[in-house]
């Protein structure tokens, strides 16, 4: 199905994803009005990086993603995946895509679905079988591998979607709202999976409305608004309040805390001041997960 190119090795591309001055214009059939969904968007994603694209609904995130996947043709500009034009079919051998609210063929089981997509990518025989087993294990769906997808919950479908996106070992993973509609446990598992893939060197390009999760997993973030990229950079750069510093101390007694207060007062002349002090809060998500895990352990005993 796919064959190794016989041309001499090309230079290793600098970026996994290269989008330069991307413009996408839609024209309505009768009114002949044009609508610019994406307006000169440029972004680059280095290999092995996790990049998050965030923005309000209708800001052009999905259109940018679709241009990268070859589902829409750019009106102007360049979209490349590891140096290959995104409009070419070849580029897709390196891409795994999880769409928002994935809907697969209800009549198939999880195993059949993965086999189907694996075969489309040219994987066959024992290699395919092993890959399917591996992925079902990875997304914790082994127990339901022979159940038709029509009987799956949303979270399970999301996991099948992730598995099919990974079937051909892609170098670039494109995730559109990967945790939408998934419960906190499932959401945490997907996040952990993203971390794992990142460690393995997979480049990840994701869109999400769940800003906390973006903050957790992404190395770099782009903010898109009304089709234009308004801000971009590393999370540290984007979210840090430069003139403030945070310390979290465990098991500090009152004496130590008083000493710190005194030290700050001593340095008031240089402009330093204490903004706030108190016990940090855990997240509701952490509480939920810890509670669920404890209950599971109790039931097992």
């Amino acid at each position: 199905m796919t064959e190794r190119s016989k041309t001499p090795p090309k230079p290793i591309p600098q970026f996994a994803v290269e989008i330069r001055d991307l413009v996408k214009t839609y024209r309505s059939s009768f009114k002949r009005e044009t609508f610019r969904a994406v307006d000169n968007v440029s972004l680059n994603i280095a290999p092995g990086e996790v990049y998050g694209l965030i923005g309000p609904n209708g800001s052009g995130k999905s259109t940018t993603m679709k241009a990268l996947l070859g589902l829409v043709a750019p009106t102007s500009g360049i979209c490349k995946v590891f140096g290959c034009d995104s409009r070419k079919v070849d580029a897709r051998s390196e891409i795994g895509f999880l769409p928002e609210n994935p809907y697969f063929y209800k009549h198939q089981t999880a195993a059949e679905t993965l086999k189907f997509y694996g075969k489309l990518c040219g994987i066959r025989g024992k290699e395919l079988k092993n890959r399917v087993d591996e992925l079902l294990e990875l997304v914790s769906l082994n127990h339901a591998r022979n159940r038709r997808l029509g009987g799956y919950s949303k979270g399970m479908l999301q996991r099948v979607g992730l598995a099919q996106a990974l079937i051909q070992n892609p170098r670039l993973l494109v995730l559109d709202e990967p945790t939408a509609g998934v419960d906190p446990i499932g959401s945490r598992e997907i996040r952990d999976l993203i971390f794992q893939l990142k460690k393995e060197g997979v480049t990840i390009f994701l869109c999400s409305h769940l800003l906390e999760q973006v903050q957790e997993v992404c190395d770099r973030v782009g903010i898109i608004f009304e089709g234009q990229m308004v801000n971009e950079g590393t999370l540290e750069k984007l979210t840090s309040i430069e003139n403030q510093h945070e310390l979290i101390i465990e098991n500090a007694d009152d004496g130590l805390l008083e000493s710190i207060d005194e030290l700050i007062i001593q340095h008031q002349t240089s402009g330093a001041k204490l903004i706030s002090s108190g016990t940090p809060r855990s997240s509701l998500e952490k509480l939920f997960i810890d509670t669920a895990n404890n209950r599971t352990r109790t039931e097992q005993k």
Binding site: R92, F97, F104
Partner: protein, 310 residues
């Protein structure tokens, strides 16, 4: 997991194995929709047709033949209806459903050229129709053979009792045997399959630029109906041109003849119902034309679909 490679894997323009994967998947999808249950209705229909006995009131030779004709016409009519409905609805639903469900995204985001996708989907439907027609052909042959055998047995007994020699009996029954199960039944079934191929490829073409399943269904149905009278329109336009007389009607007829397919030449089952033989060269000719239609419509479908945006 590799972080970089030096060579990009080249995807071939067309891949039969990839087409086969999509076709097999589509076939399974349709089978799991329980379309084969219609075979029960088909068996009941033919069993019912077999029970009908036409009275031999005139004393002529017509009534035993008429009973065999009825089984054949009911069988072929059902085959035509079913294959047309399946070709039409299954194909018209394929792409819009995939777009609506966004399953198309996950397929086209794999290294799958759009032509492979179209061919795979269409082939899946055609394989289903083919398997269904084979099953119906077997059922039809079974009932027809039973009926023909019983009629021939009765007639042989009657003629023997009148002292007619065996050679004369065989001669007299030759016409009746021509209405039984012969190779022509299977050739007619094959012609129905060719018709389904053409209808399915028309539906596919329309679905590539239509945004609505209903619109696709209606437009394809209109094309089919026009296709069935296209031969009459072409005949009229040709005759008027030969006589050097042209009017608005002949111009419209010419346009119909040019733009629409001729589906009448694939309706050779009518001749088989009348007990006629289909020469193999005719089957060859209609196959070539049907496959040409298929090729043209597939190429045009690919042309419309290749740059379609989702």
């Amino acid at each position: 997991m590799p972080t970089s490679t030096q060579n990009f894997q080249k995807t071939s323009f067309i891949s039969f194995s990839r087409i086969g994967v999509i076709a097999s998947h589509t076939f399974t999808q349709l089978v799991r929709m329980k379309v084969f249950y219609f075979l029960i209705a088909f068996v009941i229909l033919l069993w019912g047709s077999k029970q009908i006995i036409f009275p031999n009131e005139t004393g002529g030779d017509g009534s035993p033949e008429q009973e065999l004709r009825l089984i054949k016409s009911a069988g072929f009519a059902a085959m035509n209806m079913f294959s047309m409905l399946l070709a039409l609805s299954a194909t018209a639903l394929l792409i819009p459903k995939d777009i609506e469900d966004r399953t198309l995204y996950t397929i086209l985001c794999k290294p799958v050229p759009r032509l492979d996708y179209l061919l795979g989907k269409l082939l899946g439907v055609l394989v289903l129709i083919f398997v269904s027609l084979i099953a119906m052909d077997i059922v039809l042959s079974f009932f027809l053979n039973q009926k023909a055998a019983s009629i021939i047995a009765i007639q042989t007994e009657q003629l023997t009792s009148r002292g007619i020699p065996k050679e004369l009996i065989n001669e007299q029954l030759a016409g009746l045997k021509a209405h039984g199960v012969t190779i022509n039944i299977h050739l007619a079934t094959f012609a129905i399959f060719l018709k389904a191929i053409v209808i399915a490829s028309i539906a596919l073409l329309i679905s590539t630029f239509s945004s609505s399943t209903l619109f696709t269904l209606i437009l394809t149905l209109i094309v089919i109906v026009i296709g069935l009278i296209q031969a009459d329109a072409r005949d009229y336009a040709t005759t008027m041109a030969e006589f050097g007389q042209q009017n608005q009607l002949s111009n419209i007829s010419l346009a119909v003849a040019v733009f629409f397919p001729d589906l009448q030449f694939l309706s050779v089952e009518d001749g088989v119902i009348d007990g006629r033989s289909i020469p193999l060269r005719i089957i060859g000719q209609i196959s070539i034309i049907a496959l040409l239609y298929f090729a043209i419509y597939i190429i045009l479908s690919w042309f419309a679909f290749r740059k379609k945006e989702f």
